[in-house]
Structure formats: structure tokens, C-alpha cells
Symmetry: C2
Subunit: 333 residues, 2 copies
């Protein structure tokens, strides 16, 4: 079991000893942006010294926040490191004097080259290679932020975070077994829906965002939206009828009651066969530190839902990655 | 023409002279939350002293950010002032020692009572009474933040903001004329769509959020989503075909090129008759200070789109406010 942060993470943290950081910008696009929800939640819950923002990379460049300067840390993420908006955002941040850390699979990528430091991670979804979740984008982000928190607030969560991350992959593997039959049952019900919503709260909202926009919309052309569990009651819930299809992610973090309330409403006014509920309380996450469980649950939800997406793809006879019509198919857009 | 901020706003600003504020929390639910996008954009663009967050009210209570304390200003908004989550959020913030300012129609409401200060505004959508946009929720928020900026950063934009707000209602009235024929043309095309997306960037993203979730979903039961103009290219754009219905809001703020890029893509791969474009460049906003134009455009877009929604409601024979099946119809959810 690892007892120290990765060397590239420690290297990225090195400047913090001489440079007071007061703000963290979490910057990316699409799926890489979605993981930042967990990161911001971690900062909000633990740090009295740090404010933080999540920005789409091109929004960040145009908006050009006044607070971007020497006391800002900018964490950027792009799987391939070739996302143009994100590489440009790194360049913009460096020009403003901020400290920039790139998260990417490829330390030789444009994003890595545009940033002060690079932290490598691994991915299985697009590469097809099985990885350990402790090496994933979320894991690396949490390790990085744990190190930042230690430097800025003097709170040392490195040991419980590393222990938790090392227990994560077995927990995900068990979760696949828990949800497998449910996915098989629900896929035929969801196959021909025109719209499927994914509802969540807290750190798990990122998994809902990624599943709705980067899987259901991008790869299966469903109409979709990630619905925040409380915002649901201030507009979106009016679409609920016996045909409406919802996926509900219920984590164990402090916002759990928000998702429970939405689940109860959906079971009352929707049809049970159209409300796919994934509840972390059904899972064995006992090897993960209770303080850190809510943060890793989006990985569990997204990884298991990926299997559900493949079931839908099979029934719809629309391939997943290869099914996209624009992304990586056309250029100059 | 007004040359001074409203008295209730000046009263709410009074404590800032003796109390350094470093963070602004913008807290509400649904439509009242949507206006905060413009507020945060204003802070990001103008203040070097203030960080800020937008939180759904119940999320804010559960998340309980560590930075919430004596140096935080919490601005909350609820039309009727009876939104339970928002009143509870005000109470939570006061308990943590923060300065709380409630925006509401009703200074005797639970939200107002739970807050240190109340700033009143007017609304026409739900009351049916015509108002001047200078008295709206957006206008009051911008006046308040202009006063905060003057206190924290020493930047005085009060005069141009008041001048701009006083020129807003005539600009909105002219915009209705510019868009009227287009709405009549598009309504029959959009009437029977199952999904309609609203795309925007910058301050206008709030108008897209409100129109998608609080009008299209809530009142007309369309499947919908507010799509961020750059996030569009990282997933959502894959749903675009010749049948996909999009409303595109193009403002004059610094993120304009993001919305232009999405518009160009939509016109290329979608069908022109399904892409309803509202561009602020078509409007006469010359009486509004150029620095402030982008901030008032969401009001122009939302107010004019409200007319489009009524056209859809007529064609679909589904009333607007009275058409809701849960909100204000059932209780105990």
C-alpha cells in the first residue's frame, strides 16, 4: 500500500512551500471538467484558506477572472492533453503568473507543455486497458488537493486518502456485481426512451454530468441532462410522469438527503421500472475511510454505469465510442 | 433618472464599511438561482478582493463551506420569500456569523425575517403586473454588487450601472419588436418537439438555465437542458441532427465567441428552421453603457423568450403557470 504521494504530485506541490496560494481554479472541458465537482466539494468542506472555482476552459480564458494571479493555483485536466481550449487556458493562466498543474495521460502533450507541472494518470474508458482506480483522474486530483490542503491549512489527510484509494478498485469490482442484475433489468425499459435524466448531488453530481453529457448524449444520442437533486424541485420535476426515465445516484456525503428526497418523489410520481437507483448504502465501502467515502463514490457510480451504457448500446445497436458522428470524426468546428 | 442606489441597498451595504468581506455566496433555487450567473460574472470580471460561489440553497446548507464566516457576504433570493430551502440557508449563514442579504418581493416573508437585511424587487412573470426592468431581481442584484465592489475594491461603477438600468426597459420593449416575427415563425416548428435545448455563455447562461428548467420543463414539459456554449462541443453536440431544436443566445460579453462557434456548428449540422438564434447584436442597446451591456442581456433574452413560451403554450394548448402539475399543486414533497 502506498504511504506517500506520487513523485510528480510532490513535485507540483513543492512551490507551495514558498508561495501562498489563496485560490484554486479547476479548469477543463466535458468529462475532465466533471471530476472537478468532487475536487471543489473537497476544498469547500475542508479548507478555510482556499476559495475555488470550476470553469470550462474556454469560459475561463474569456472571463479572465481578476483574481487569477500569483496567488492562484490552476489545475487543468485533459485525457489526451490535446484539448485545445484547455491547453490555451494553461497558457493564459501562466501569463497571468498563476501556478499551473496539468493532469493528463500524456506528459508530452500540448497541455503538459503549456503547464508548469504535469501529473500523470491512467484511464480505461477510452483506451480499453484495465486500470486500478487509484491511478485514475479522480484519484490523482484528490491526492493533489490533499497535498494542497496540507500546505495551505496544515490539515494532513494524506494517509487516510491513500489508504482509501488503495481500497477503491476492489470496492468498484464488488459494486459491479451488486448492480449487474439491475442493469440487465432496466436496459430494455430505457432502450427506446427519447430522454434519460441523471440526478445526483454533492461530489457525485460530476458523475451525473459526465454520464448525461459524455455518454448518453455523446455516445447514444439520448436527450439528457444532469439534474441537481434539489434544483430538481424548482423546475425539472414537472417533466416526471409514468414514462419519464431517471437514473438516481445516492451518495453517502453530506448532501445525501437531497438525493433521497428526489428519489422518494420519483418513486411516487414516476414508474418504478423507469427509475434506476444506485445507492452507495447498498455497497461494501467499509475499507474506505468514512470521511473520504463520498468523494470516491462518483468513481463507483460512473464505472458501473459505464457497463449500463454498453447494455443500452447493444440493445440499440449503436456502438459506444465508434458511434460518435462529430467528435474525432470531423475537424474544423 | 436615479443617481443613487436604493435606500434598502445602501442600508445593506452599511456594515461593509466596518467589516472586511472577502467572499460572496450567491444562494437560491431555480429561477432565482439563475440570475446569480450574471452576478458571479460581474464579481469575477471586476474584483481582485472577492471570491464568490453560486450554490443551490439546500446544497449550501449541507455542504457547509468552511469559508462561511464573518468575512462572508451571503446574498439570497426568493421571489415570494417562502422557498423553504432558501430561508433555511439564510438562517444557516447567520448562525455561522456571515452577513446576510435577502432579495425578495415580500419584506415580511420567512426569507426576509431570516436575513440581516432585505432588498425588495419587483416581478411581472408570476404576478402579471408590468414592471420596469430597473426594479427587477437582476437589476437589484447588480446594484447591490456594484455597491459591494465600491466598498471592497474602491471601484465606483454606480453611475454607469444606474444609467444603464434606467435605459433597459425601453431596450427590452424594442427587442420584443425585433424578435416578434421570428417567434411567430419558429413556434410551429418547435411545438411538437420532444426536446428543446437552450444554449448560452457568460452572464446569459443564467437566462438559458431559467428558460430550459423553469419554463420549457416546468411549464411545457419539454425535455430540455441549458447547454454551456463550449461544453456543447464536449458531449452534447452529438445529439445534433436535422430535427434537433436549439435556442441560441448570443450576448456581447467577453464569451461571445463561444456562442458564435456553437451557432455556426448548429447552422451547419442542424436545420435552420430548428435553430432559433437571438443575438444581442441585432438589438439597439446603445443607451446602455458598453461595459454593462453583457450583464443586462440575460434580462432581454429571458423577457423576450417569455413571449415565445406563450406562443408555444397556445399552440400546445397547455397553459403556462396553470399548467404545472406538482409545483403549488401538491404539498409534502
Amino acid at each position: 500500500m502506498k504511504t506517500e504521494l506520487n513523485r510528480d504530485i510532490e513535485a507540483a506541490l513543492q512551490p507551495l512551500s514558498a508561495r501562498p496560494i489563496s485560490h484554486v481554479f479547476l479548469v477543463a472541458c466535458g468529462g475532465s471538467l466533471s471530476i472537478m465537482q468532487g475536487g471543489k466539494y473537497f476544498i469547500d468542506r475542508h479548507s478555510t484558506k482556499l476559495s475555488s472555482d470550476i470553469f470550462n476552459a474556454d469560459d475561463f480564458v474569456c472571463r479572465a477572472p481578476q483574481r487569477l494571479g500569483r496567488n492562484a493555483l490552476v489545475i487543468l485536466c485533459s485525457q489526451t492533453g490535446t484539448t485545445r481550449e484547455t491547453a490555451r487556458a494553461a497558457q493564459h493562466a501562466r501569463e497571468k503568473g498563476a501556478l499551473t498543474v496539468a493532469m493528463t495521460l500524456d506528459p508530452a502533450s500540448p497541455l503538459a507543455k503549456a503547464s508548469d507541472f504535469t501529473v500523470a494518470y491512467q484511464a480505461s474508458y477510452t483506451t480499453g486497458i484495465a486500470i486500478d482506480a487509484a491511478d485514475s483522474n479522480y484519484a490523482v486530483l484528490y491526492m493533489l488537493l490533499t497535498g494542497v490542503l496540507r500546505a495551505t491549512d496544515g490539515i494532513d489527510l494524506v494517509a487516510p486518502v491513500l489508504t482509501s484509494l488503495s481500497a477503491l478498485q476492489p470496492a468498484i469490482d464488488r459494486a459491479h456485481q451488486v448492480f449487474a442484475d439491475r442493469f440487465a433489468d432496466f436496459a430494455p425499459h430505457f432502450k427506446d426512451k427519447s430522454a434519460i435524466y441523471t440526478l445526483a448531488s454533492g461530489p457525485s453530481y460530476g458523475a451525473a454530468y459526465s454520464f448525461s453529457t459524455c455518454v448518453l448524449m455523446e455516445m447514444q444520442w439520448y436527450d439528457s441532462q444532469a439534474v441537481h437533486a434539489n434544483e430538481f424541485f424548482h423546475g425539472p420535476f414537472e417533466v416526471v410522469d409514468k414514462n419519464a426515465a431517471f437514473i438516481v445516484l445516492i451518495g453517502s456525503d453530506e448532501t445525501r438527503r437531497l438525493a433521497e428526497r428526489a428519489r422518494d418523489f420519483l418513486l411516487r410520481y414516476g414508474a418504478e421500472s423507469n427509475i434506476l437507483i444506485l445507492d452507495s448504502a447498498e455497497l461494501d465501502l467499509s475499507a474506505i475511510d468514512a470521511r473520504f467515502r463520498g468523494y470516491v463514490e462518483p468513481l463507483v457510480f460512473f464505472d458501473t454505469l459505464w457497463k449500463f451504457a454498453y447494455r443500452l448500446a447493444d440493445l440499440r445497436r449503436q456502438p459506444m465510442l465508434e458511434g460518435r458522428r462529430y467528435m474525432k470524426k470531423i475537424s474544423n468546428y
